[in-house]
Symmetry: C2
Subunit: 353 residues, 2 copies
């Protein structure tokens, strides 16, 4: 505590990113990064943009990038917003659309940054419990509220909500903004972007961090009705007009345009996930039905925290959440086949099978 901190600063409980220990080289399956490098066209575009023009401000409207994403998804440019990763966009969206006077709803088991944003903006959050199978039940959101956030697939459960349920959610709350956070949608889910024309209250948030292998570049998108995009721009332009640098803008355009590479690498991640899931089931793990680039697993006999620590000792980092309902689970990012073979072998040594 410091006497110089505002009351807000003193009240915050900041987000804690996944650990990045530097004591030795780990197989890093703890932050849901893509195991494959970004497209060679992305690297080339960035090198090409590393020039004298870096002395100039980037385009504050991100016009080229917004147009590339709009063309890719078949939307008008006015329905697309680009930001410094989906985290920044979510922060902007919480400020833009949610009223401190009303309750904000999101699942009890979900991305842990949501409650941090809520605190930052003085929003009262009500957590809607997932059912016993870790499913979002949209009828449970039928309570008085000022906004809803649902990740799809959810994290860390990896479970997908069908588009029909999202339609129901949007129709149930026509006067509230419903954010569908699709950070992991490209690994087997169906995007809600196609619903934007029908529901002006829908904001879909995506990121290049996972499926485009660009966590290091910090670029994300929001898609929604023009009034929602304008709301995001009002917040952005009251905060920082230039949140994406020239290099990231150039690299992101190339990433969107190289669709073949994107489809190839996501297919590889999905194939590895399916194979690893089979192996885990054979080792007496419970595995949720993942449509993401990670699996959420629980062993029938050994405690998750014990497995977590033993994996760490063997040089494999996964994520353990010391929280009610999910403290029996581990979240494991899907790496390369070689990395997952090493993970499975380490697990076999731990569970004795």
């Amino acid at each position: 505590m410091s006497k110089f901190w505002s009351p807000l600063t003193a009240s915050l409980v900041p987000y804690v990113p996944g650990e990045q220990p530097k004591d030795k080289t780990y197989i890093k399956l703890n932050t849901n990064e893509n195991p494959y490098p970004p497209s060679p066209k992305v690297i080339a575009a960035i090198k090409n943009a590393a020039n004298a023009d870096l002395r100039l401000y980037p385009d504050p409207t991100c016009e080229d990038l917004v147009k590339a994403a709009a063309a890719y998804y078949g939307l008008p440019a006015g329905q697309v917003f680009a930001g410094n990763g989906s985290d920044e966009i979510l922060a902007f969206a919480f400020a833009a659309f949610f009223d401190p006077a009303k309750k904000l709803l999101f699942p009890d088991i979900t991305y842990s940054f949501y409650k941090v944003y809520a605190k930052l903006y003085g929003l009262r959050a009500e957590l809607i419990p997932l059912d016993e199978q870790f499913q979002v039940r949209v009828e449970d959101f039928r309570v008085d509220n000022g906004g809803i956030v649902v990740p799809n697939p959810n994290a860390p459960t990896a479970e997908l909500l069908p588009l029909d349920d999202i339609r129901k959610l949007l129709a149930d709350h026509p006067d509230q903004v419903v954010i569908i956070d699709e950070a992991y949608i490209d690994f087997g889910g169906q995007s809600a972007i196609e619903l934007i024309g029908d529901y002006p209250n829908l904001l879909v948030v995506q990121t290049l961090s996972k499926s485009r292998s660009l966590a290091g570049l910090r670029v994300g998108f929001a898609f929604g009705s023009e009034e929602l995009i304008e709301g995001l721009n009002r917040i952005k332009n009251s905060f920082n007009s230039y949140t994406i640098d020239r290099l990231a803008l150039a690299g992101a355009v190339a990433a969107i345009e190289d669709d073949d590479y994107f489809k190839g690498t996501t297919a590889k991640v999905v194939a590895t996930r399916e194979r690893v899931t089979e192996q885990l089931l054979a080792m007496d793990f419970k595995v949720t039905d993942s449509k993401a680039n990670f699996v959420f697993i629980s062993h029938n006999r050994l405690e998750a925290q014990v497995i977590f620590q033993q994996l760490r000792d063997k040089g494999v980092l996964v994520r353990y959440f010391n929280q009610p309902r999910i403290d029996g689970y581990l979240r494991v990012s899907i790496g390369t086949d070689e990395e997952m073979d090493a993970f499975i072998q380490a697990l076999q040594e731990i569970v004795g099978k």
Copy 2:
């Protein structure tokens, strides 16, 4: 207006960046960019960082960059914060240190983003008038307040506040955070960084956008006591843990380390500024005493808005502020010698001399 906007969003008056017209090629003297390219070592570092590691998140603590800046300024790393341009850092600082229950003070003529941040965070701003010579008078800040922001040199006046006055300001307000925004300090000013050890209430904010020719990279710093830096980190980690991408981190370290290049280009900008100032004085312009990379000028006879428009027609962009007290002035960034020769020639055609 939209029914989906929060009351906050509806109330905002967002910042408007300097225009970037695309209808033809202009001599761009309107956004205080550096006319010289960044150091070749910066370009090389960025190209080197454009690799497969972009699939991984950047270091959320920006450790290498923070250490480089700390070493350069002779500070412990715990007194340095790195952010996505000084704009983002100022936004974080307004949230971190200023209490909506108390008045925030800044000059009446200053960087126009301050009042935008104030609105974003629900802060009541009281504008302290500069004196008739556009000087900050620190005794005028002796009113009840919850924080102070002063740019040094000020913008758009370009006038420098001596370090002795900043000492007085810091001593007058020991219980409030005083932000000294040094975006332009490297063009002839003396940084307040040397006062940090004496004043735990001092936060100095700088940027690589101007003096390091990296407006396109989006990197800035804050320097201050450890409790202030921790306050900034609390806000950042409640907003977006990764605001600087891997390429910008690598380029920024190289920029800090190439001190010779930095000193050479800033000296060239200063020499051009001094020469242009003489020419402007000879053309019956009033020119404030600039210690920045721009001049703030007023003609004895012609209206600023008229000169602005005629310069624009001749392909030279400068900045005109349609605001009380400064609507007789133009802000002109210092370009290359060739650009400034073209600017002076265009002016001569306009003022007829």
